[in-house]
Symmetry: C2
Subunit: 282 residues, 2 copies
């Protein structure tokens, strides 16, 4: 398993909760594995190899498609809570008793819920480009998100240049380097998600983001050491939501990167791996 | 010079702007030195050796008393701008053409102004536990600051347990370890500041913090790469001010540490040195 990388790790399958979960597992075994939770309409192939292979030097990395996504069977739940139940079932089906959990965007909502539901299973939590229940601008997709997800692009994956990077020349240049890395796995890629995925995920996002009383109180119950990371200028899940997460989770550190949008970890992959690895090793 | 540490570095003097500045200089020479700007009523002896010696392994560290403070001659200006002019004069009097500047609290206001006034002199900027002009709660000392600075303590330096650390048991334990480190320089210490220092510094703080139109626009003119660091729960200069600094300085990274008050860098000295050293080496 050690010899595999992001590009070569075979897609494997495990059954749990009536779902056949597709996953890939690689890196240095023996410690606490790091489980990645993906964003809106993303598959395992949307993770940046600069990050996954970066972590794999020191620890085992587990990528998976949650229920209804790409090569996994089942239906996409219309609640974050349903997605977290499936994520927990997947992790337990691998026979793991403790993992570190990284969640990006929608995956960060799943990761928070998983940490709350399974305090024994989740050792440490990394929340990237995400936000709290009823967060600022989270009752629906932000106007900026509606615009960039609704537009058409010369190449389909140029969507991510607008979602993850700012309009600055420097940020866009790192975006093109990111796309090149995304395309670097040439064999046994995941299929794209089906058309039923986006509506179900948007319904789940909207329920999560809906206004409610004392919306941030639940964050007090996240007992895991938590690292919150985002870009300075996230227009998909506004940056202030990362600040709110840090202010309400009892043991949370915040890092915000300059001139960066929703995908700051793809703009600064080495720095990101260094910061997260330091946090996981503490 | 290399052989000296925080505890052994002799106090030296240099004349500039009609002021005899006291300073200490130690660490690894040859690179860009790191100049420390001190907080309200602090002297060179209020820096934590865990931090100064931590940095001194890789770079030259310069501590100094600005005008009118402890072993330096002159008067404390009643404006931050006046303090920055003196800081620039001090740095130039050492014959330095480029430095990195770290400012803590009041020293962070001086550091911002120095970076704006002397863009060639200041290479990188580290702003710790500080805030912008007209920042939240900065028109006067915060109610919490008035309370802790107005109280009396069993030992005078127990003041800093309340200023720098939260009330949690874990934070207070690191506070006592910090005080032990502060006391570890036994010879050739600075005198405490005179009674005229606090009123002048409070006047300068109040002018800086006074409400004004578009108060954060000036931050766009800080061109240096900047690292902003604070605790999650700063009651002396509210944490949100660090977030505001990051959001308005064009090239700024933010790090907030958990369960930490105004002196987060003294609560997590190793992590702080690691984060800042990484930033300075980028």
């Amino acid at each position: 398993m050690n010899a595999h990388t992001h590009q070569t790790a075979p897609t494997q399958y495990v059954e749990a909760n009536g779902i056949r979960f597709a996953f890939r597992r690689f890196g240095k075994p023996g410690g606490v594995p790091l489980v990645f939770n993906m964003h809106f309409i993303g598959t395992m192939d949307h993770w940046d190899p600069a990050i996954t292979d970066g972590f794999a030097k020191d620890r085992e990395v587990i990528l998976f498609n949650n229920a209804g996504i790409a090569s996994s069977s089942g239906e996409v739940p219309t609640t974050i809570e349903g997605m977290a139940v499936n994520a927990a079932a997947f992790i337990k089906a691998l026979g793991l008793s403790q993992v570190d959990v990284l969640g990006f965007s929608l995956g960060g909502l799943v990761a928070q819920t998983l940490a709350l539901d399974e305090p024994q299973l989740v050792r440490k939590l990394i929340l990237v480009g995400t936000g709290p229940r009823s967060g600022e601008g989270m009752a629906s997709l932000t106007p900026e998100a509606q615009q960039v997800f609704g537009a058409t692009y010369a190449e389909p994956d140029h969507l991510w240049l607008k979602v993850f990077f700012t309009d600055s020349q420097a940020s866009q240049a790192t975006g093109h380097a990111f796309l090149k890395r995304l395309r670097s796995r040439t064999e046994h890629r995941d299929p794209e998600v089906s058309d039923s995925v986006a509506p179900a995920q948007i319904e789940a996002l909207s329920k999560w983001g809906a206004p409610r009383e004392k919306p941030y109180d639940y964050l007090q119950n996240i007992t895991q050491p938590t690292l919150v990371i985002n870009g300075s200028s996230d227009v998909i899940i506004y940056t202030v939501n990362s600040y709110i997460l840090q202010q309400h989770i009892p043991n949370a550190q915040l890092i915000l990167y300059p001139d960066a949008n929703h995908g700051s970890q793809y703009q600064y992959p080495e720095l990101f791996v260094q910061h997260v690895s330091g946090f996981l090793a503490q």
